[in-house]
């Protein structure tokens, strides 16, 4: 009960910070979005050329370093890895691309709901179905195999990269790309974003915040502890948005149409988030959780984050990412998922099921043969 109270309290703080970041300048319903922010950072370092989504997001840097600092202080920094890293890299890329078909990670999905975006509820249903499918594989033996303790240096590489990225953000050399318009140009001041990231990273490490883990625990153990954190984020961000909306206007709009950085195609909102849910169960956590685990020294999660970066670059280089729905002057509706994005989502679901099946079969077979130690 004490643990649940802590999680709810941390969730409230994170929800308020997310709403505040929008007031400070982040795009609407995007106080945090791990997928969008990694995509923006990938664009800033030239991994893709989508001019409207290029910016080194300090929130990502803060999340990783916040988890690193608090885990070091609490003596929980534990360098480990070796659990099917290449499979994790590919799964990470698939999760990222399908998240960009939806236009958001699971955390942003919650923040979109808090902003009144009903498209995100369709995504949430797909996400839960994807997790349900993943849980069926878990029950039957799905595993990417165990991790092993590694030298400390192996556990800090992603954090070192984040420090380097922060240096590049502050120095802003000519080869780093910054959007002049679009979502990439909208951001809170650097230090506010960094501090927000550090605080949320530290809190997320302490409470093991994970949207996938929350729903998975409910399905596997009927345990609502982890999920209560995301419910708290939703309620706090909703309250924050309603207050901002009452004072300034434009922070809450209930409906499907006219939602910021979102599209209205329900089928692909559902299917893309189903892929994100399934892929994230297979990885052992949502994109936020992977950043936190990487900060704690888990090099498998760092490899997954590398997969996210490559997936984000592919999503924009190959026209897989969706565009936000917009209404033209003649009334025509534009945007939505691309044909390539739809095809990729179907392929991603097929590949994810095949990988899940193969790793379930392999584990079950190994379980029969594995000698017991005692």
């Amino acid at each position: 009960m004490k643990e649940k109270r802590k999680i709810i309290l941390a969730g409230v703080v994170i929800g308020v910070i997310a709403a505040a970041l929008v007031w400070f300048g982040n795009p609407k319903n995007m106080g945090f979005c791990i997928a969008c922010f990694i995509r923006d950072t990938a664009g800033a370092v030239g991994m893709h050329q989508a001019a409207v989504v290029q910016y080194i997001r300090p929130e990502i840097i803060g999340l990783v370093l916040g988890a690193l600092i608090v885990s070091a202080v609490k003596k929980e920094f534990l360098p480990r890895g070796g659990s099917s890293p290449m499979t994790r890299f590919v799964l990470g890329a698939f999760v990222m691309i399908t998240a960009l078909v939806f236009l958001g990670c699971p955390l942003r999905m919650v923040l979109r709901i808090a902003g009144g975006d009903l498209n995100a509820i369709v995504g949430l249903v797909g996400f839960a179905i994807g997790i349900l499918c993943g849980v069926q594989f878990l029950k039957r033996g799905y595993s990417l195999k165990r991790t092993y303790t590694l030298p400390a240096v192996d556990g800090v590489w992603l954090s070192v990269v984040q420090v380097a990225l922060f240096g590049l953000l502050c120095a802003a050399p000519a080869f780093i790309l910054f959007s002049e318009k679009g979502p990439g140009s909208m951001h809170a001041p650097i230090w506010i974003s960094l501090i927000a990231g550090l605080v949320v990273g530290a809190l997320a490490q302490r409470i093991r915040l994970c949207m996938v883990g929350g729903i998975r625990d409910v399905l596997l153990f009927q345990d609502w502890t982890l999920l209560s954190g995301f419910v708290a984020i939703l309620v706090a961000a909703l309250a924050g948005n309603l207050v901002l909306n009452a004072v300034f206007g434009g922070y809450f709009s209930l409906g499907f149409m006219g939602q910021p950085v979102a599209h209205i195609d329900g089928v692909w909102n559902f299917l893309s988030m189903a892929a994100v849910g399934l892929g994230s169960v297979m990885l052992g956590g949502c994109p936020l959780r992977q950043l936190i685990l990487a900060g704690e020294g888990n090099s498998d999660s760092a490899v997954t984050v590398a997969g996210y970066f490559v997936g984000a670059a592919f999503a924009h280089n190959f026209g897989l990412a969706s565009a936000a729905t917009a209404v033209a002057e003649d009334g025509a509706i534009t945007g939505g998922p691309t044909a390539a994005g739809k095809l990729f989502t179907v392929i991603a679901l097929i590949v994810l099921f095949v990988v899940a099946f193969l790793n379930t079969k392999a584990t079950a077979a190994a379980g029969v043969k594995e000698p017991q130690r005692a």
Binding site: E3, S71, E76, L78, L138, K139, G141, Y142, S143, L144, K145, R146, T147, T149, Q205, R206, I207, R208, C210, G213, D217, L220, F221, D223, T225, L226, G284, G285, R289, E296, T363, G367, E370, P371, Q372, R373, A374
Partner: protein
């Protein structure tokens, strides 16, 4: 005595629980308590009166005895 076992994978936990149930020991699977680990994996909770070293097997990460809210290490395979 009450024990909590943590594992490298969820499936290791399922197999461990199956083994113990086969020996007539009641086991409850649940999320790993935060006070024990920052991992969000699966743990097994059970009562056992024998030598805890007899419970060591492939896939077992950690076995602790719980005593008034404290965790006393019995096996650590990390």
């Amino acid at each position: 005595m009450q024990y909590i076992a943590t594992f490298f994978t969820h499936y290791d936990a399922v197999r461990f629980a199956g083994d113990l149930r086969g020996q007539g020991i009641a086991v409850q699977l649940s999320p790993v308590p935060r006070s024990l680990s920052s991992s969000c994996g699966t743990c097994a909770r059970f009562a056992y009166e024998g030598d805890p070293r007899e419970l060591d097997r492939a896939g077992l990460e950690q076995l602790v005895r719980t005593d008034s809210g404290r965790y006393l290490p019995a096996i650590d395979n990390r």
